[in-house]
Symmetry: C2
Amino acid sequence: MTVTHPKGFRASGVAAGLKSGGNADVALVVNDGPDYTAAGVFTGNRVKAAPVLWSQQVLRGGIVRAVILNSGGANACTGSQGFRDTHATAEHTASVLRGGAKPMMIGAGDVAVCSTGLIGELLPMDKLLPGVSAAAKALAADGGTRAAEAIMTTDTVAKNAVAQRDGWSVGGIAKGAGMLAPALATMLVVITTDASADNEVLDAALRAATRFTFDRIDADGCMSTNDTVLLLASGASDRQPSLEELTAAVTEVCHDLAQQLIADAEGATKHIAIEVQGAASEADAVEVGRTVAGNNLVKTAFFGNDPNWGRILAAIGTTSAAFEPDRIDVAINGVWICRNGAAAEDRGKVDLSGRDVKVTIHLHEGEMGATIWTTDLSHAYVHENSAYSS
Amino acid sequence: MTVTHPKGFRASGVAAGLKSGGNADVALVVNDGPDYTAAGVFTGNRVKAAPVLWSQQVLRGGIVRAVILNSGGANACTGSQGFRDTHATAEHTASVLRGGAKPMMIGAGDVAVCSTGLIGELLPMDKLLPGVSAAAKALAADGGTRAAEAIMTTDTVAKNAVAQRDGWSVGGIAKGAGMLAPALATMLVVITTDASADNEVLDAALRAATRFTFDRIDADGCMSTNDTVLLLASGASDRQPSLEELTAAVTEVCHDLAQQLIADAEGATKHIAIEVQGAASEADAVEVGRTVAGNNLVKTAFFGNDPNWGRILAAIGTTSAAFEPDRIDVAINGVWICRNGAAAEDRGKVDLSGRDVKVTIHLHEGEMGATIWTTDLSHAYVHENSAYSS
């Protein structure tokens, strides 16, 4: 049920001392081939961490043989020394994999690097590099779950997923609290498949999948410096699914992981789906959903079990989407408490006692729609993000 | 020190039973002339409350003789009945002022209306209209502070301000928690002057003043359906200041009131000034300041007394402003903890024990700057906005 489920991959997770608590903090995923094609999507933040700048270059080469990941430090806003440290990490990873029990033909340019943790501090390379060596020694065909554990920061559970197909599969691991919303500076995702696919197909499948999954979750509206989603293909199944088949399987894994991220978002007490219907365009639907998801007054209302549709309308009013204020309908958990922009069904009928909340917004402007997943804004969120530097 | 300080104005505040606690909830400000010129700025929210739609029409006529304001209900998202209620409120106000102890020549089209409170519910007109009558009877030349008290919602103190000039003055009252950030659906501001000025001059002075004051505070990034700032001139001083002089005095009052709003913002424990320097344009400076001010991770860090400059850089990275990540400097309370996009002075030197916080961001792209004032994100904010429907 993880990144080593597809054939042709090994992984590991070890404790190198980057985290103060002694938990695992270095993860390694290697592709044993025969293919080494890959695709990646990265944060849209213009302040990008050193490992993001490095991995973007690696992806341009079209081959990824290994991904080295660390928690305990984001290596973001660390200047030229931070980039040199990322480069040294990739060089060291390639070096130990060339000289390992199962020697690989690999250079630093084949190694993607991901980091997560506090922004603005240099990584302790004297701990990280021995950790990389230990991770290489610990590589195992069933090591995916240990890799998932080693990239956790404030995550309370490790995130793993698999989509099984006839003769091939897609697997993945993830950490963080949202694509645009990583509460601790980073969503990191590694997805593997034993399907055979060239870089263009992988890229198209990954972009289509992330567009409807990681791009549509938003825990706190804050965009990370480190977000990275990688897709690696080994071709070990000797199957070559169509782009459609591959996209469906990658989307299934991304959706599963994205929902796990929202379910485990910092301090959340609600898992909220905001479904926008009747929009003039998909872009309008996404903008309205995102704006409502990011509104602190809406989020605190849900924390208080308050079906406050007025705050939802006030949030919609700040968008540039096509709508008429007096034609908007809003339902919360199936009760249409707002029709034509004014009060309708009794708000007392709305049951918000459960964790799952469904908000339905109908704009009556067209046929397009989108769903954004988010969380409430709770005391625990404020506590987690104020009591600890992260 | 309030809206009745300038000559030619009377005001009042009475309890009409709109608020459950029995506090004052209806305020009236009248202009006794000889001039009745006026200007107004309103919320940019596309979902506008009925009183905003009404008052925008009144302002087009160029004359405002009275402003009737109520707390205890926003009259937003209330459909055509809500607009009829606003109209009836203006008609009733004009009627009682025509027949009062000091009869005024006034029609409904000379009466601006402002409402604040819960969105989505109709106002109890059976209580509001008698309240309007009582407010008209209670009008007094020293009634400004009672008007300020009657428009309070979650405000803990009434907001009054005056700018005294030689022979003329500007006065004002306000309620709410921020122009783009009214935590309880509304910032309402009434400003008066006994200067003589035509509508064009008043409009220019008000827009210039709000641009650097109310437009640059942001408590929680949420834009209200009801925000209204009105400027009324009586000409009773018989002085005609230049546009520059008038703008300076109106700006002084707006700045004073805006700072009072931020100081009293819901749940705030910090009063934060974000000064952006070295921007390529004023628009860039404002965008960077606003984005940092609106970032929940930055706001929770300040609540926790954490000088987390990495979160500030991550927020800057989401803007479209001109900058290079490795040229940004950031100081918190005068300590330059980030230089060239990386760690600089020791973060331990930053003293965040006080309520006032100054963040300085230097982009090194030009000569333009702007300051945005905001607050932290605290447990009390979450409590106030989740425990009560508002």
